[in-house]
């Protein structure tokens, strides 16, 4: 029960902890994210638009698709109905969200889980950037190239020194300016800015009343799901507290489902090229 006690409930941690007087300009950048998940099938590229909202002290990175879903009640952005049908489609979406609070070096991964939302807290990954001499123009912004080795991949990133924030897409950050573009050396992973917009107010905050757990606890839960998914979900559903499971990607589940008793060798290697190749 020790662990259970250590789990605490966070109630809206304000992101501007210290320098509340500081003039924080908020902005929103949309990135086109592309990822070849299966190297045997390089034509099949996973694509999704991602949204980074940021100011000098904090940033939030999540699916733009889902953001639209969440805010549909506030701002009704009507599309031409898809085929005139009752519903429109969203093909894929990333369900997790990264929050960065640079002042206290904290990173929160907000992760949907069986009927719940988990918040996993750890430190910001330190990235050893090398800034080069190369410059180019990206969407009218003067940008500088920097390189790094991160999570098993060699990245080339372009940041804009005129947007003086640490933020960037996904877990890439820590340059003296907003990262506008990043691509790995094999061109399997790519982030490209497609729009930049000022925001009247901050949009970076932790969800209210969500469960805060450690990275270790989260790893253990993921393993439990992989081990015997049928039984694990059974436990979750049996007590009538049913809920949707939203993992970071359906691929995770694909792996776990296929490692079940009925082995399906063909479908196992659908994602042989995860975003993070190493820790």
């Amino acid at each position: 029960m020790k662990n259970a006690i250590s789990i605490s409930i966070i109630l809206l941690i304000p992101f501007v902890g210290f320098s509340q007087h500081q003039n924080l300009k908020n902005a929103k950048a949309i990135y086109a994210f592309a990822h070849i998940k299966d190297t045997n099938n390089v034509d099949n590229i996973y694509k999704e638009d991602m949204m980074l909202t940021f100011n000098a002290n904090a940033s939030s990175y999540k699916s733009y698709t889902l953001f639209y879903n969440d805010s549909i009640f506030d701002r009704r952005v009507m599309e031409k109905t898809y085929n005139g049908a009752t519903t429109a489609k969203i093909t894929k979406a990333t369900y997790d969200q990264h929050l960065y609070f640079f002042s206290d070096n904290s990173h929160y991964l907000v992760q949907p889980w069986i009927g719940d939302t988990l918040v996993i807290k750890d430190e910001i990954d330190h990235i050893d950037w090398t800034i080069t001499n190369e410059k180019k123009d990206i969407a009218g912004f003067n940008s500088i190239k920097a390189t790094c080795h991160f999570k098993g991949r060699q990245y080339e990133a372009w940041y804009c020194p005129d947007i003086a924030v640490k933020a960037g897409p996904w877990k890439l950050n820590g340059l003296p300016g907003l990262i506008l573009e990043a691509i790995d050396s094999k061109a399997h992973v790519k982030f490209e800015i497609i729009s930049l917009q000022n925001l009247p107010m901050a949009m970076v905050s932790l969800p209210t009343t969500k469960k805060l757990i450690t990275k270790q606890e989260f790893e253990q839960m993921k393993n439990a799901l992989k081990q015997n998914p049928g039984a694990f979900l059974n436990a979750a559903n049996a007590a009538n507290t049913s809920g949707a499971l939203g993992l970071s990607s359906s691929v995770e589940l694909s792996k776990t489902m296929n490692s079940g008793a009925t082995k399906n060798p063909k479908s196992i290697s659908r994602n042989n090229n995860p975003l993070e190749l190493s820790n």
Binding site: I9, F18, Q22, K25, A32, D49, A56, Y64, T65, N69, I72, E79, G84, A85, T86, T87, A88, K89, T91, F102, S103, I114, D116, T117, E123, D128, W129, A139, G140, P161, A164, K166, L175, P176, G177, I194, S195, L196, T208, T209, K210, K211, E217, M221, G230, F232, N234, A236, A238, A239, N240, S242, G243, A244, S254, M257, G260, A261, K263, R270
Partner: protein
Amino acid sequence: MFIDGKYKVILLIILWFISYSVSAQNVIEGIVVDEQQQALSNATITVRKGFDSAIVAFGFTRENGRFSIRYKNYGSDTLMLTVSLLGYFNKEITFLSATATPFNVLLQQTKSLLPEVVVRTSGIYSRGDTVNYNVKAFAQKQDLVIGDIIRKLPGIEISESGTIKYQGRAINKFYIEGLELLDDKYGLATNNIPANAVDQVQILENHQPIKALDSFSHSSRAALNLKLSASAKNKIIGRAKVGVGIAPLLLDNEIVPMKFDKKNQTILSYKYNNAGYNYSAELDLLNQSDYYNSIKGNTLKNDVIFIPMASLPNVNRNRYLFNNLHTISVNHLDKLSQDYTLKFNVDYINDLRQQETGTRTRYFYTQDTIVINEQQFLSRKQELLRGSVSLVSNTKERYFKNVTSINLIRDKDYGNIFSDDTTNQKITHTATGFINDLQLVKVKNTAAISFSSFVSYSNQPQTLVVQPGKYAFLLNDNKEYNSLQQNIYLTTFFTNNAYSFSKRYRRFSIENKLGVSYLQQSFQSLLQKNYLSQVLPVNDSFSNNLNGSEMMFYNNLNVNATFKKWKISAGFPMSVVQLAKNDAGKDNKKRENKFLPNFFINSSYQFNSDVTLLVKAGHETYYSSPYTATDKFILSNYRTFRNQSGIFKSWANKNAEINLNYKNIVKSFFSNYGFSISNDDYNVIGNQHFVNTLLFSNAIRMQNTASNFRLHGNISKYIYKLKTSFAATVFAGQTRNKQLQNSTFSNFANKYVGFNTNVNTKIKEVIVEYKSQYQQFHSGFLNLDKTSKTILINQNLALITSLPANFLLKLNMEQSGFKQNSTINRNYYFADFSVRKKLEKNKVDVELLWQNIFNTNSFETFNVYSNVESRSYYRIRPAQVLLKINFLL
């Protein structure tokens, strides 16, 4: 390269010293403040060799505004320090590398905004909250139809009846490619659309099917949409099955072609089997909650007379169903234009069921006990023809839907009952129903207005023939006679028209529905006897001829409110009803006026992410259709006469419920505890008395209260070390009711305790699923020592494994039994075995099934409630072997 805030100050100092001692590196330090001398954090600091040259070092200010950056010692070169921060003007300072001293940098705020750019707009097209399940991620070799996959999706379950539930609640719509081809009989889709034809299963959370109402009434129910794969569109797909087995000759064949394109959708189905599969269930309407009007309008089949049967046994239905079933379904949808869709649905079912049962029913009374032994051979033939045409227009501005449908049901049931003597019973029941249902919704500024109109007509003639003529002492001056015939004629006209508007204001939403409904019924019952080849009416006291009507004005107000942790929804339905009846041709009108104010309140409070409390309470009033207020006896089956004594039956239900959910997802522990009470106040009680085995029941007007309470708790946990999930449920409860027997009151109490477990584990490559149920009942008189105790046990063990070469093996074992007053003890064992193999190239799936391996041929169950206990046996399908080959078209 740079030092970030996570290093402690001491470490910085050490580094600072090291950098000096190494002397290949220098450190530049300083503080960044704004015009009010307040420290600025996360400002970027870069060091360059010249104005336009490369950056040699960079860093950021900490919370206190200080920075400290190491850089290579460039001797006496001039370096440039740039301090910038979003929202402030940049500051550039040149300094000599060798003479770096702490800097005090002041940044000035800038009002200018970032230059905005749009390289391209984001490709997002979404409405509502959508959860997408990628079918390929869940598909396994043995999955044939999409239902096999939906069943596995986390958060989604399919109940035994075929209802799909998302987060424990039934879905409100089922779409294929966004179009609603099948309405509520979506079982046809889940059981037949090939799994490989579907790309995604989408759950549309909080789905409001009427687009125009989207922003006015917030639906808490979800819909399901199937996204087909591109290769499944614009051509004929589907499946077929050939199944042959013994013994005797068993067939299980079907063909289900379908076609989906942009403007048209079609699903056809023909199925035949005599192997015990009830495929007509997939044509069932699975959204019964929307059928208030159909129930009121009596357009569903309503049996006034019936043949007594044994209660259904607690084993898989497939084990005791002796059938011969044809089902045909034709469904076609046509998109006439962007706004209008036209749809035709026709189903035909031809079902012949046979069952052989035996029942020993005991009625306990304070004075004596009545025992009825029956052996029942039943043959039930049902034909059903159902057709509908619907026209729908669903746009943001308005909604229009008109559905015209007809139902034709023809039942012919034969029952031979062997008791002391043989009684043949024959029932014919033809039910005809006609319905027109119109709905209109319009949006006006901030409010939505809707209008609905329902009109139905139903005709349900029913006949029960009992042969030979019984109860001669009562009905035919003690002279033997040929047969007894009960005829029923029941027609119903019903219309319900309502006007409603909904409005949303911040945390509140209000919906108000004002309506009027009118019901007109005509009911005749006639008891005739066939004596000496003459058909004669029995007696005047056995024939009813009445016209009934019901006029209702109602106003239903619903209020929903959502706060941070509270969610409350309350309803205040109110109605004024006038019930009337009179005997045809006579001037003896009887009227009853009722004012029925009711309420319900549902609320949930979320303490934190782990604990949720749900509280429900309500008061509702119900009453029976006016035709039931008969004042003469009706023979409802060969040994029961009922008389409602002209009373309009009504009852008020009070209920309250508390539920507490606790979960700890890190520990994978889930639990739920609840308590509920309810109380029903009837205005009538049936006085029962037996004449030998003939039961007479006539209603007496008096208050009659039944109450019950129930407690339950369930927990489940996944145990990581054992790869096992364990779930257990404990429940207990009591119901109390009153009966009037031979004009004497008796009070009964039925108590029950139960314990269910469910274990799912994996031993090497074998999945093991174990389920058990244990229930104990105590029934009997409340204050007398006349109770009976019954224990029911059911256990089920399934072993599933896959072998090389795509073979899938499943072994299922079941034990079921009961113990009664520790005198009777029964135990039954069943086992089934199946092997499946998918031949991928030919899109063929072969299954060999061996059911009921132990060849168990009968099954006994025990039921007890208040003073009635019945012990029944069922004949079970013998061991059978079936070879089934499934094809994809």
